[in-house]
């Protein structure tokens, strides 16, 4: 490695550089003082940045009108998942119109790469990647999200309703 050195006389004058830097700082200070709304920074965590609606954050399992899970446990998301972080156990539902549903749906969020392939593979719009992106936690935190968390966590306020509706589809003869 070669080291370049500037040994000219001019480089010995350091004061103009220091003053130039101070001037830049002062310029930003004054600008932010008199024009606070256009300030570039946020007071995290009181203020949070809102990403676009397409942002791929934590998973949400959608629900039907009656609040039950939309998922039919077809395992396409688990099959398509490149990180293999989804684990589903299917079971027979009492209602013959539903037939099959997941009794357990778990996502190992520490393995998840948020690629959105599960969302894309789902034929019934049962899983979506939501807007939440802050999932801090220490060692003891639960990083394996279960059905209860995915579909009914408090932020979702009773669950997110899917636009695909079985009864409407049946009426349309699909």
């Amino acid at each position: 490695m070669s080291v370049m050195q500037n040994n000219s006389e001019k480089s010995k004058w350091f004061l103009p550089g220091i003053l130039g830097g101070l001037a830049t700082t002062m310029k930003h200070l004054l600008k932010n003082l008199f024009n606070q709304k256009k300030m570039m920074t946020l007071n995290y965590p009181e203020e949070k940045y809102e990403y676009s609606p397409r942002f791929k954050g934590n998973h949400v399992l959608t629900v039907k009108k009656d609040g039950s899970l939309r998922c039919t446990a077809c395992m396409l998301c688990a099959t398509n998942c490149p990180a293999e972080c989804i684990k589903i156990t299917a079971a027979e539902h009492n209602d013959p119109a539903v037939e099959k549903f997941p009794i357990s749906y778990e996502i190992d969020i520490l393995r998840c790469v948020f690629c959105g392939f599960c969302e894309e593979a789902c034929p019934v719009d049962a899983i979506r990647l939501g807007p939440e992106w802050q999932t801090p936690g220490v060692n003891g935190a639960n990083f394996i999200y279960d059905i209860n968390h995915l579909a009914y966590r408090p932020n979702l306020k009773g669950g997110i309703l899917t636009h695909v509706d079985d009864q409407e589809r049946h009426k349309a003869g699909i």
Binding site: T72, A73, M75, A90, K100
Partner: protein, 522 residues
């Protein structure tokens, strides 16, 4: 022997062969649902259409016999168009519930649709809704919406099981499969209807929703449910075995197998298995348990030693253990534990036999080879008067077919030392106290070997998967019980380089290299 031309290839077939069979013979692919090689021809799906030269209309291949000089093709635009529209009719009332359907992944309709499908349906009418989740009997669930009315299952109950439970009811697009009034689909071969259903209309209650088929691997084996020895495929993944399906073998089972044979996977799975060996109440690794049994066997004289065998192991294993007993331990007290003696020779006329052991013939053959003539009465007498002190038992894999299990266990536990080898868990066995060795065994899907079926046909089985990897085969357990070690067979110098230069540094010299020496292993 008529000759015909199929898609430009000349094929010679037997007299009375249909075009579809000739196409299978020539290796050409053809769309079909209702045709099944083991059933009669129905010709209801109209998908196996072909164009025959000189015939203006397309014909179905399953019900047209090959004649001399016939020129057939199914690759023309006309045929493709016909199949495409035929498929569209099949899909008129078929629901799109592949996410729920258990057949997804191995469904005939999915496959055909990918190949010939008309991707834009032109039906304006709504689908006819039929019954969903119909309970047909103890083993099968029907979804009549998914049914495409190929009538394979109906023909199966008419022609093969001859029980006639199923029928087609109503007319037109309201036709449904169902059971006759007051009947249930309840026969010993009912699950074959699930196998031959080309769509997901009939699903097995046992397998339903438990696993998606694309997560399963399969391997060929031979059923150990009875002495027929049906050829099977076992479907498994890392969680264990999930189902068994028959494989076509004309000599043995044709296309079918019985329902009780399909349950054979249950006693193989880990939750039903012995995992740890037990020596006098202390848990041990299986190999260590067998090794500790070698001490008591060595100290027992030949006359006081008996071996009890069930006919559920392979010929190679019998050979190993009987040879050891006759030659090393100098005893000919080898006994055949016959379960359900009364029904041993019964046969239901199709596949299932009263002898519920896969290898009775094999055991008898090996016993004959070593001139063993002892009967169970000798053993009972020996146990009663105390002349037999140590008993080695190769217990059953499938305990369900041993109704006399507890009785025999009680009788054999009279012996001073009892060495019991078995694959499955059993409460009565683990409750035994005193000098008891329990050694976990491998099951038929975990080892190589030979089964000889009722007719004397030798069938080789290959290892499919490992469920309890630490369990032993009878051969391995025998080696350990003699006091030898299990050695891996290694080919000598198989991987030594053969293109070395004369001045090549050899391994011995390299070890002495100062640089490597100082740094430790690289």
């Amino acid at each position: 022997m008529p000759k015909c031309t199929i898609n430009g290839k000349e094929v010679e077939v037997k007299e009375g062969t249909s075009i579809i069979e000739a196409m299978q013979q020539s290796g050409d692919r053809i769309a079909h649902y209702c045709w099944h090689p083991g059933l009669s021809v129905a010709g209801v799906c109209r998908l196996c259409v072909v164009e025959i030269e000189g015939n203006p209309r397309v014909q179905i291949a399953c019900n047209t016999m090959v004649t001399e000089g016939m020129k057939v093709n199914n690759t023309s635009e006309k045929v493709k168009d016909a199949v495409k529209w035929g498929l569209d009719f099949h899909l008129i009332n078929h629901p799109l519930d592949c996410p729920i359907c258990d057949q997804a992944g191995e469904c005939g309709l999915q496959d055909q649709y990918m190949e010939y499908g008309k991707y834009d349906p032109e039906m304006a009418e709504a689908k006819v809704k039929k019954h969903k989740v119909v309970d047909l009997g103890p083993t099968v669930v029907l979804d009549s919406e998914r049914c495409i009315l190929c009538s394979r299952c109906v023909r199966f109950t008419e022609e093969v099981s001859k029980t006639n439970e199923l029928g087609l009811f109503n007319r037109g697009d309201r036709t449904e499969i169902g059971t006759h009034d007051g009947m249930l689909l309840d026969n010993k071969y009912s699950l074959n209807t699930v196998d031959i259903c080309p769509v997901g209309a009939l699903t097995s209650k046992d397998f339903r929703f438990r696993q998606r088929v694309w997560y399963l691997k399969d391997g060929d084996s031979v059923c150990n449910g009875c002495s027929t020895g049906c050829n099977i495929k076992v479907y498994y993944n890392k969680e264990g075995l999930f189902r068994i399906k028959p494989v076509y073998n004309e000599q043995v089972n044709g296309h079918w197998m019985c329902d009780s044979g399909r349950n054979a996977y249950k006693f193989v799975n880990r939750e039903a298995r012995l995992v740890k060996g037990v020596v006098a109440g202390k848990e041990m690794a299986p190999g260590a348990a067998a090794k500790s049994a070698s001490e008591v066997l060595k100290s027992t004289s030949g006359d006081a030693l008996a071996l009890v065998l069930t006919a559920q192991y392979t010929v190679e294993e019998y050979e190993a253990i009987i040879k050891t007993f006759v030659e090393e331990f100098k005893t000919k007290k080898v006994f055949f534990w016959v379960n359900n003696k009364e029904t041993f020779d019964t046969f239901d006329g199709l596949l299932s036999r009263g002898d519920k052991n896969p290898n009775t013939k094999g055991l008898l053959k090996v016993m004959e080879k070593y001139g063993i003539t002892s009967t169970w009465a000798d053993l009972s007498a020996g146990l009663a008067n105390g002349s037999i002190k140590t008993v080695v038992v190769a217990g059953p894999e499938n305990q369900a077919v041993f109704p006399d299990y507890n009785e025999r266990l009680k009788e054999l536990s009279k012996a001073q030392n009892l060495i019991w080898m078995q694959a499955g868990k059993n409460d009565a066995l683990t409750a035994l106290t005193g000098n008891v060795w329990i050694i976990p065994m491998k099951t038929f899907v975990e080892k190589d070997g030979t089964f000889i079926n009722f007719s004397g046909l030798e069938q080789k089985i290959k290892k499919v998967t490992n469920v309890v990897s630490e369990a032993l085969t009878l051969t391995e357990a025998t080696l350990l019980m003699v006091g030898k070690n299990l050695a891996l067979p290694t080919a000598n110098a198989a991987f030594m380089p053969n293109n070395q230069r004369d001045d090549q540094v050899t391994l011995e010299a390299r070890k002495k290299n100062e640089f490597v020496f100082r740094r430790g292993s690289l």
